[in-house]
Symmetry: C2
């Protein structure tokens, strides 16, 4: 278990109030590593968004388990937050993270996007360049 911690981000009240959650109280959260690779997309509710910003590590809401999902608590694959963005409609979030452990994906792959449409099914995680 890593002992490294991320840095907390203090949002303005206006920013937090402006986030638009869907009918389930959730907002998509994209995690991208510092080299540009998109690691995964999962969901946050208002509480786990606040936890993520305060703790500086990704905390999702698990839709399948209907519980707080502090990424890496069981696997060690924590994601430390460097920057957090929201889109023009404030209904999608983007986090630039440092991926710890073996990767983001429960399959053991580094990125959850390890399969490509087309006959050549597997491909390296997309990154910059």
């Amino acid at each position: 278990m890593s002992t490294r911690v991320g840095s907390s981000i203090e949002p303005t009240a206006e920013q937090l109030d402006g986030v638009r959650f869907d009918e389930h109280g959730l907002v998509p959260a994209i995690a991208q590593d510092l080299d540009g690779a998109v690691l995964m997309m999962a969901w946050m509710n208002a509480e786990t968004l606040r936890m993520t910003l305060a703790e500086g590590r990704m905390v999702y809401w698990s839709r399948s388990r209907q519980e707080i999902w502090r990424k890496g608590d069981t696997s060690g694959d924590h994601q430390l937050v460097h920057d957090a963005y929201y889109d023009c409609d404030a209904d999608v979030l983007l986090f630039r993270v440092e991926q710890l452990g073996k990767g983001a994906c429960h399959t053991g792959e580094y990125s959850c996007f390890f399969r490509r449409f087309g006959p050549d099914r597997t491909a390296p995680a997309p990154s910059a360049g």
Copy 2:
């Protein structure tokens, strides 16, 4: 209006059948440029996913207008598809695209993620490095 076209991708039947759409028949689609910048996230249904892969350009489903949204048809800001990925649960899609025109965002910004949580509100679109 650009006359450049993207290259079509021929998915396998198994890949297409495996995509898991939500209760509204939609799946999140992330567009990332070739330098690693995440441009936007919008939604596709089965029909616009097929159109995107066949035409090699991003075709979303507009939830607000409830209609097919062929990105760039009115703005000229087309997105040419280079690669298309699906995640481990096959319920999120990632497209590496070439962004034409002035950018992805209707505000005129290059990326829709041009605002950052924290007191320093605006920030360049996150990209690699």
